[in-house]
């Protein structure tokens, strides 16, 4: 695990193996999610992998009815919207995630602060697109 570079490629490979991995500065112990190779807090060069629990809460969200081409190609549309949000992990850092399990027909029913848990969708076929970071309402 330690040999992997602190890159998005590594982050997404870990995600495929059902691990939400960030980095931790060995100097000042700041956590980074997604991982980075350089600590912007203390300018430390030494970081190590850190596995997040995958538990967090919803900071904000939006229900998207006009999506990107890539999401429209996945079948999302005005009548079949998707929801993404900003999630705060229990360990502190935040990450953007596709949000499952919320009632998208009633955005008012989705509450910020509500507890969430990371989920790992099955990996798409070889050579397919990377799975996005995905959380589900707990």
């Amino acid at each position: 695990m330690e040999e992997k570079e602190f890159t998005a490629a590594s982050f997404y490979r870990f995600l495929d193996r059902k691990k939400l991995m960030g980095s931790k500065c060995k100097e000042c112990e700041t956590l980074f999610l997604p991982p980075r190779p350089f600590c912007g807090q203390c300018s430390g060069n030494e970081v190590e992998w850190f596995q997040f629990s995958g538990r967090g809460k919803l900071v904000s969200f939006s229900v998207v009815r006009v999506g990107t081409t890539s999401y429209e190609e996945k079948g999302y549309s005005r009548d079949n919207p998707y929801c993404w949000g900003v999630v705060q992990l229990d360990e502190g850092p935040r990450i953007s995630a596709l949000l499952l399990g919320a009632d998208l027909s009633r955005p008012d029913s989705i509450k910020t602060g509500q507890p969430l848990k990371v989920v790992f969708p099955d990996k798409p076929e070889e050579g397919g697109e990377r799975n996005p970071v995905t959380f589900r309402v707990r």
Partner: protein, 422 residues
């Protein structure tokens, strides 16, 4: 960290500014709109200028590469207005591209390297379908970690809106009031993309329904119109169609000169007395708080300090209302209103043209239009027209101190400028 008070090495003045019409022009390319903006700018220089006196050109542009299949746009724009072989530089900081071009021009003149420069911006977006425009703009977010989860620009600002609503009780109705105000202003701006009020849009739809013998909607005012999802569909909850700025083509230019030669060109001296720029995490999740833009606060602080003025002194502002929530944030981050009170202030009419703090008298990005790379200098054109008394029916009287606020993406770049009429 000890910081010396930042100041310009010498004074910089604006002697003219102009823009093309903003709109959707299927038969026009960047160079056509740029020429239109340039010609219109030359006409505004009171005592005239020989364009060959311009020594350098700065062009803000987000993505002519994707929008038009044309990279390296700065020398091309210079060529079409006869400014080769002068140095031509493109600046790209998403929707703040030409606000940054303005700042680079100011720094160049203040340094003493040049006495006269052209700062500008251009964007032609309507060559692509709406879906491809959505993708091209989304690239200004964090491609690896935001676009991957389906982020679009309406949905990024929707996150900010949702957080603001939860923290301060801001409402969707308050956002609608901002759209109505900006369209009312745009209706008085002959170069605006939407040179029409929301009431007039509503009335023309009613007339059309009647003419076609279709069922006539029951709207009696703009608020009823905006609350009807058939008229104002959801784009990314809670942002609806009329919360979003349009997909616009346009160009804008301004001519900057050193203060000592400004009177050779004009008797109305409009000096740029403050400039500020700041950056922030590209992704919303990289920020501790998303109910304000930290970069806007930092950029404003620099500009106010350099100018030696306070938010209360500013008489008029053009701010970056790419979405209605963005205008709320702007008026709070700039210190016009306390955090959480921006939407209420707009609702009470305090930011209307005849209010205490007129915001976006041009119609803003919402109604004037948002040709992304041209927006920053487009804002400056309104400041020019207001300060030189050429704003026609939307003229706010006696503006001596004004401000522009130009945001890149969801707030990872913000540029603020302060102008004084002397």
């Amino acid at each position: 960290m000890v910081q010396r008070r930042k100041k310009l090495a010498r004074g910089v003045a604006m002697i003219g500014a102009g823009m093309s019409h903003f709109g959707a022009f299927k038969e026009k390319d960047s160079r056509d709109l740029f020429v239109e903006a340039f010609q219109s700018t030359l006409e505004t220089v009171q005592k005239g200028i020989d364009p060959r006196e311009i020594e350098a050109i700065y062009v803000g542009n987000l993505s002519s590469d994707c929008f038009e299949g044309q990279a390296h746009i700065a020398p091309l724009m210079a060529e079409w207005v006869g400014l080769n072989p002068r140095p031509a530089t493109r600046t790209e900081d998403a929707c703040a591209s030409s606000g940054v071009a303005l700042r680079e021009g100011i720094i160049a003149v203040a340094s003493g390297l040049y006495d006269i420069v052209l700062v500008s911006g251009v964007e032609v977006m309507n060559k692509l379908t709406t879906a491809r425009v959505t993708d091209t703009l989304a690239a200004a977010a964090d491609a690896l970690y935001e676009v991957s989860v389906g982020a679009t620009f309406p949905s990024l600002y929707a996150q900010i809106a949702t957080a603001h609503m939860v923290k301060y009780g801001t409402t969707e109705e308050q956002f609608m009031k901002i759209a109505i105000k900006n369209h009312d202003n745009g209706a008085l701006n002959p170069k605006a993309h939407f040179n029409v009020s929301i009431r007039d849009i509503m009335n023309s739809r009613l007339a059309k329904a009647k003419e076609r013998g279709q069922p006539i909607p029951s709207w009696t005012d703009e608020m009823e119109f905006l609350k009807d999802p058939t008229a104002n569909p959801m784009v990314a909850w809670p942002m609806k169609l009329f919360d979003c700025s349009p997909i616009t083509d346009g160009a804008a230019c301004a001519i900057l000169v050193s203060e000592e030669i400004a009177r050779n060109f004009t008797d109305t001296l409009i000096q740029i007395i403050g400039t500020g720029q700041a950056s922030d995490a590209q992704a919303l999740h990289g920020r501790k708080d998303i109910t304000s833009l930290n970069a806007a606060k930092f950029a404003a602080e620099q500009a106010y300090e350099m100018a030696g003025v306070t938010p209360g002194d500013i008489q008029l502002a053009e701010v970056h209302d790419c979405f209605t929530i963005a205008e709320v944030l702007a008026t709070e981050d700039l210190g016009f209103f306390k955090p959480g009170e921006g939407a209420k202030a707009a609702e009470e009419g305090r930011t209307a043209r005849d209010g205490k703090k007129p915001v976006n008298p041009s119609g803003g990005l919402k109604a004037k239009g948002h040709p992304v790379g041209a927006t920053g200098v487009g804002q400056v054109v309104e400041i020019w027209e207001q300060m030189s008394g050429h704003a026609g029916p939307r003229q706010v009287p006696g503006v001596n101190l004004a401000l522009t606020h130009n945001v890149g993406a969801s707030g990872s770049t913000v540029v603020v400028h302060i102008f004084e009429r002397r």
